[in-house]
Symmetry: C2
Subunit: 451 residues, 2 copies
């Protein structure tokens, strides 16, 4: 929704809310897309938000509450009675229901799971048993599975039977009599084939499937690499357990990208743009700031150790920010490219040595050029060619060391199964600040007598 | 492909290449997924790479060359003669062919466009006329469009006719007699309906479509928001011009995420992890380094202006990195969350004032806490409570100013249609470095007589 449209619609909706026109609101919202209704819910405040939500019919309410951001959802849930929550959960797809229940306070979740239909409750419990970030954690149980002995006509009948319950159907999964996945048929193939054709004749046998325990990032990688529309999920015995559709994968890709950006920026990925509690945000941001603070206190200790040199040649002080900032920049450049390569699979451990050599050569060239620039500027601007030379030499070495650190740390982190993206964030800045200052001061000590 | 598997397969393939077993290679590769073959091509070197590529059949070769990274593709193209390139282009879908041709050197591209089938050539030219980053630039012309007067049975016949040419069919687009888009029917609906049902009876009329000129980022936003499987593209008159499928959107989302990460890290998004030319990488990275260098030279000038104070109280020097680093961290935190909110649509201009107030309150709290920590550490570790107080006060003010700058600059950039993500990168670090040092030095001057 464009901003202007939204503003107008918000005004109209607020007018209807003030006039307590619930039936009219419900009728209008029946024609709107749940994502747009979610947008309205997010932008309305307090009582208005609740009035609109309460006026929605069940299906629309269930779709909309899944689409709003977490803090709005928390608020809507708090104002909902248990009965309505139960009916909402019953209306949802198994995967959405499981996600929704997992966000509820544990006591409330237990109550809701008791109140909803036993079959529904069993499905949600089954899905909740999987880790949140795995294929099992994001899969849905709703799918069309047909025995391999059946024909195209029988598969179409099965689709007809399930059409009401399952909104998105693009494939029929073909299984053997132990429900092991043996093939997949796209609807296009069903349409093109004759009704009496056995499924086994037209099915695609090279099915790319994942295990329930597969990491969701791995699933996203497969989807991207092989352009998959949906991914069947199997258990340890190869039996069909569920399926993941492309829209859930789009969410995963988005989530992972935001996670990377959050790591790089040193923020918590759970901080939401519309979060209202200042304390909550402070609590999420403070740890990263304190990490930075501790790192830079070490940097301060390093400088304290060289206070005689700094006191003697005060000009050295002016270029401290250049050394730290440029080390940081070069290090981040080197690590960002490795993190990206690791994410797409274009780089792996076997490249470590090659990578190191490459970063070294890049850094020699760019370090030298930056050194040359700073030499000229210091020699002319500060009328001090000797210090210019010292700073140019330091900058070159700092850029080289920072690039090598930046290029190899993410590989090492990946080796130890730590998310390499954290290497681009505050950690690499801090270590390059400390290392850079040490290098700068050591080189300064070497030349101190000539300054 | 897992790394170990790939290593083994690479050895087997290399063995067959050494033995000049082209027919055998071709047969094996017919069963492999193009993405896996692309993987092999990327990891083979020089002659081996070309031998494998030359041994592939046309369809496989066309699919594989589209999947490899840009620098591998450049190399494969250089070794290909014009005739083979033409046939490869003819084998591709219109959107892939256009992308491929756009990457060729202009002279070669013109030659290829003359050599291929006139109809194919016209299609590619038509697509190349659109801006690269727009819906028109990523859409394909291959789609199934049926007149609204037709029936389900006739639509199925149309699918049958086009099934060979179009690999991915999930929807039939319904048009009026001027080819204006009036509806969409998913294959599931076709399967469920009777053959004689008019399409107009079952089609979805609330179609979300985009204009040829719509920015691809906007298209990705719509796909994410409304969970679309494919997006029809229309011209200014509302006539169906093409369609964008979910796999292309997944690529766009991935690309945009990488672009954001690149902006944040101060690297060029066109630097590829497997790029071999050191000079090319240096050229891409140097401008960002020079931006940093210029910014920090300004910071050095600021410090030079306050050299008397620094010379008098050398302890002030030790905490310069704390001031710059913490200002940077707090600024990046504030900007990252705004950039994310802008990307998902959760934040817009109307939030500017509220955002400013929020960042201010967060910064007061976190700034005060960081200030308290640094006061205790400087008072105890450097045995200098007076300087501790000065640094604590400076740090608090710097965190506050950096947070406000970080939280509002992305909004201002967005206002002027500049990508807000650049705000998280070197620019914000530089401005916060300069601003932070100014604040630090001003506060130091105020208290200089008491130190």
């Amino acid at each position: 929704m464009e901003e202007l449209d939204r503003q107008e619609i918000l005004e109209d909706v607020s007018y209807l809310i003030e006039a307590k026109q619930a039936p009219k609101l419900r009728a209008i919202m029946l024609d709107a897309h749940p994502a747009d209704i979610a947008d309205l819910l997010v932008h309305l405040e307090g009582e208005h938000r609740h009035y609109l939500f309460d006026s929605l019919d069940l299906h629309t309410a269930a779709d909309a509450i899944l689409e709003v951001d977490e803090s709005t959802r928390r608020e809507l849930i708090q104002a909902c009675d248990e009965h309505r929550l139960s009916v909402l959960v019953e209306t949802m797809n198994s995967d959405d229901a499981a996600d929704f229940v997992s966000e509820l306070p544990p006591e409330l979740a237990a109550k809701i799971l008791k109140q909803i239909e036993p079959r529904e409750s069993a499905e949600v419990r089954q899905l909740l048993a999987h880790e949140e970030d795995t294929a099992g954690g994001i899969m849905a149980l709703e799918l069309v599975a047909v025995d391999q002995e059946r024909t195209v006509g029988e598969a179409i009948n099965e689709i007809r039977k399930k059409a009401e319950e399952i909104e998105t159907i693009n494939h029929v999964y073909v299984v053997d009599n132990s429900r092991r996945l043996v093939g997949m048929v796209h609807l296009k193939q069903l349409i093109l084939a004759e009704a009496y054709t056995p499924l086994s004749e037209i099915m695609n046998r090279d099915v790319i499937s994942v295990q329930v325990g597969t990491d969701q990032e791995e699933v996203a990688k497969l989807v991207r690499k092989y352009d998959l529309l949906s991914v069947p999920v199997v258990d340890a015995q190869g039996r069909l357990a569920g399926r993941i559709t492309y829209d859930d994968i789009v969410d995963v890709i988005q989530e992972e990208a935001q996670e990377d950006l959050a790591r790089v920026a040193g923020v918590d990925e759970n901080e939401e743009p519309r979060e209202v509690s200042i304390f909550r945000i402070c609590r999420l941001r403070l740890p990263w700031l304190i990490i930075g603070l501790i790192g830079e206190i070490i940097a301060a200790a390093v400088l304290t150790n060289f206070s005689t040199a700094l006191d003697k040649v005060i000009t050295l002080v002016f270029f401290i920010p250049i050394i730290t900032a440029m080390g940081g920049n070069a290090g981040i450049q080197a690590s960002a490219i490795v993190v990206r390569g690791l994410a797409t699979g274009e780089i792996d451990f076997s490249d470590t040595l090659r990578r190191l050599g490459k970063e070294f050569r890049i850094a020699i060239l760019n370090g030298f050029l930056c050194g040359l620039i700073i030499f000229i500027i210091v020699a002319l601007g500060w009328k001090n060619p000797a210090i210019g030379l010292l700073i140019a030499a330091s900058l070159t070495v700092v850029i080289m060391s920072a690039s090598v650190v930046g290029g190899t740390v993410p590989l090492a982190l990946k080796r130890f199964n730590v998310d390499p993206a954290i290497a681009i964030g505050p950690f690499i800045t801090i270590s390059n600040d400390i290392l850079g200052l040490l290098i700068y001061m050591w080189i300064a000590m070497l030349f101190l007598d000539y300054l």
